[in-house]
């Protein structure tokens, strides 16, 4: 089962490596991971997407919580939540037909073309992992993909529930 864990941790050198190390040391899966400081600069918020049955997820949550640098852990997939991933994708855009086609496709997905050269587009798209995957499949039929960079999933739970120190 796919789960998204939000982790609030001290914004200190080495804190991230403790979390990543824990995952590899105990054989847990990391599908993707994002991390950045929060509005409080002494804290970072890390979002990790992982897989496992309930028991594994419970262990992961407890193990991460046990790290001295970690303040809080929340499984945001337990309830209603918002998840987003950002993707930048560079595609070949040489003929005007292709360029029109890809512009149209981008509009359908609410993606933006953020860089244009005579032969390439860079398209930016935010959304769920599934939406990004779908866009890649769609664009592949239109043109040649030159490179893809995805941020990994970040997310928040809906409503009043919030993860704070």
């Amino acid at each position: 089962m796919r789960r998204i864990l939000s982790v609030l941790l001290e914004n200190e050198p080495g804190a991230l490596s403790r979390i990543v190390g824990l995952f590899s040391q105990r054989g847990y899966n990391i599908e993707n991971l994002t991390v950045a400081p929060t509005d409080d600069e002494t804290l970072s918020r890390l979002t990790v997407t992982t897989t496992g049955d309930n028991r594994v997820i419970e262990q992961i949550t407890k193990q991460v919580n046990k790290l001295v640098d970690v303040l809080k852990v929340q499984d945001i997939t337990e309830g209603e939540h918002i998840e987003r991933e950002l993707m930048l994708i560079k595609v070949k855009a040489e003929s005007s037909e292709d360029r029109i086609e890809m512009k149209g496709l981008s509009d359908i997905f609410r993606a933006q073309i953020v860089d244009v050269t005579s032969s390439t587009f860079v398209i930016q798209l935010a959304g769920t992992t599934a939406k990004l995957d779908a866009f890649i499949e769609a664009i592949r039929t239109e043109s040649e993909i030159l490179e893809v960079s995805r941020t990994g999933v970040t997310g928040l739970s809906r409503g009043e529930k919030s993860l704070r120190s």
Binding site: G14, G21, R55, Q59, K62, Q63, V68, D69
Partner: protein
């Protein structure tokens, strides 16, 4: 104003550190220089940094205080890793101060540079790389706080050479107390859960108390004993929990697990309620978890939430310190006046006594060759069961655990989790340094002792008169036992050819060696050994090479699938 090096020493003094086990080198020379004139701290120079870590570990296990290690960067630091991992697996409070190359050259592959924080990360409770001299006192205070509280464990403090520069002076500020927003271990168990657990226990017909190392860390043996007596519960101790409940008590069914007693494993397997206190259901206890105690409701108290439901699911999990939870439970019992079902317990005890009647620790003596079990019994007699016994890892460890019933906690000191050969001797030294009036013994074998034998020199330098009881079977006994049982007797690289003459060897280091091979002379030699109070005595005892440790759980079986003696050879 003081230098970083002075701050290190000052902070250690302020924390109350009395002993440091260490080895100097380039990156820590400034700290060693500050240590030169320090009062109230004794430093012991070891012969190998791994041993320093084991000494600090033994020191901590015997006293409950945090052990302290000081080593230089690079190899000095990496040599402690096995010792740190040993302490980590057994939850032993320890602080390792390691030197580091100057911050300006970190990452440049400088001489004796090694990323100690990175190397030690999987085996520490926490670690710090100190970047500013002003941070030294607060960081050291935090390190000791983290090491000792919650589930204890080792903490590394890496100190780059430039921040301990004696020429640069900074203000020294030691915190009044340690506050960390991200670290607040929970010691008080949930009252509702405690009540539920107690209710389940009181309704049990075939209960058992399963006690682990967490009970020793929580210093609550009296509480456990009173609780067990009040409810007439059978008690089993893990390898790490020996002595938490007296091994000499009539309600003690002995150690459980792979080499547990017949009655302990039978009691566990047939129980309807298991009350686990500070134990972690590890694989050397449970055997095959799929077949583990099929009828038991599991009540599990542990200070570390990750230990609960990790291998075996708990029906009633309680996160908290064993002493606090048991105190709450005792209070509830006082208030309600409830007790266990006396009739059911009587029947349960009748059953347990029948299992006990199996007399699983019986062995055949010989008048020609000394049996290893006999050595431990002789040791028990000579020390009146009062010694601090450190052990190495192997058959001798299991013989020690089974044939020396510990009546008190912190007397049995062994590497339970990591199973580190070479642990026993330095650990026994640490015990003796911490408690100079105690009798400190190391049970070892011809394999293990050679993994840290260089410390005989340290013992001479500081006058540390430990007693080494070496069961010399000229083989790696436990490996050989497995090869006998599982590999058709193919003894692949498990024999020790070219063993040194241990008696001559210890004599070369300036100590006393005694060799015994005649069973008739064993007790007398043992008496002689312990009569030499101020001497390190090494007993090289030649024992039966073919002896196995029994009982032994059968691989992939249930808790009570055990061999009680050597299977008939096919």
């Amino acid at each position: 104003m003081m230098s970083g090096a002075e701050m290190v020493v000052r902070a250690l003094t302020q924390i109350g550190v009395k002993h440091i086990f260490g080895y100097p080198g380039g990156a820590v020379l400034d700290i060693y220089d500050a240590l030169f004139e320090a009062e109230g701290i004794e430093h012991l120079l070891v012969r190998h940094e791994q041993a320093a870590a084991h000494m600090a570990d033994g020191y901590a296990r015997a006293t409950g205080e945090v052990g302290t290690v000081l080593v230089t960067s690079g190899p000095g630091a990496t040599n402690t890793i096995t010792g740190i991992a040993t302490a980590y697996m057994d939850s032993i409070p320890m602080v390792i101060l390691s030197g580091q190359v100057p911050t300006s050259v970190i990452g440049e592959d400088a001489f004796q540079e090694c990323d100690m924080v990175g190397c030690s990360r999987p085996v520490v409770k926490h670690s710090f790389l100190v970047k500013k001299a002003e941070d030294i006192p607060a960081t050291i205070a935090k390190a000791y706080h983290i090491a000792a509280t919650g589930r204890p464990g080792p903490v590394v403090v890496d100190l780059p050479k430039d921040i301990v520069n004696p020429k640069e002076k900074h203000p020294y500020v030691f915190p009044d107390s340690v506050q960390m927003r991200s670290y607040n271990p929970n010691v008080k168990g949930h009252k509702g859960q405690i009540k539920k657990a107690l209710q389940t226990l009181l309704e049990a017909k075939q209960p058992v108390l399963y006690i682990g190392g967490g009970a020793i860390a929580a210093n609550c043996s009296d509480l456990i004993t009173a609780f067990a007596e009040r409810l007439n519960l059978p008690v089993t101790n893990t390898l790490m929990g020996l002595g938490a409940f007296p091994g000499t008590h009539k309600q003690c069914v002995g150690m459980l697990g792979m080499h547990g007693t017949y009655e302990a494993n039978k009691t566990m397997h047939n129980s309807d309620v298991i009350f686990a206190l500070g134990a972690r259901f590890d694989d050397r206890v449970t055997n095959n978890v799929q077949k583990f105690c099929p009828n038991a409701t599991i009540l599990h108290v542990d200070i570390d939430p990750t230990s609960i439901s990790k291998t075996v699911s708990a029906h009633v999990p309680i996160v908290g310190s064993v002493d606090q939870v048991l105190a709450d439970m005792t209070e509830m019992l006082d208030a309600s006046g409830d007790s266990t079902d006396a009739q059911a317990l009587a029947a349960w005890w009748t059953q347990i006594e029948e299992w006990r009647g199996q007399n699983c620790l019986a062995y055949a003596k010989s008048d020609k060759v000394i049996k290893p079990q006999q050595v431990i019994e002789s040791l028990y007699k000579a020390t009146k069961g009062e010694a601090y016994v450190s052990s190495d890892v192997g058959q001798h460890q299991m013989f020690g655990a089974l044939y020396y019933p510990f009546a008190k906690p912190r007397r049995w000191i062994n590497s339970g989790g990591l199973g580190t050969m070479g642990f026993g001797f330095p650990a026994a030294m640490g015990v003796k340094v911490a408690l100079p009036d105690s009798v400190s013994v190391c049970i070892t074998g011809d394999g293990s002792i050679q993994m840290n034998i260089q410390e005989l020199s340290t013992c001479m330098q500081y006058g540390i008169p430990v007693k080494i009881i070496s069961l010399n079977n000229q083989a790696l006994g436990m490996v050989r036992q497995w090869q006998d049982l599982i590999y058709g007797g193919r003894h692949s690289h498990s024999y020790m050819e070219s063993l040194p003459d241990f008696v001559k060897l210890v004599e070369a280091y300036g100590h006393v060696g005694i060799r015994v091979s005649d069973p008739a002379e064993l007790d007398e030699a043992m008496e002689k050994c312990f009569a030499m109070k101020d001497k390190l005595v090494f007993m090289d005892i030649l024992v039966d090479q073919n002896e196995h440790v029994y009982p032994m759980q059968v691989k992939y079986g249930a808790m009570d699938d055990m061999l009680l003696s050597k299977p008939e050879s096919k």
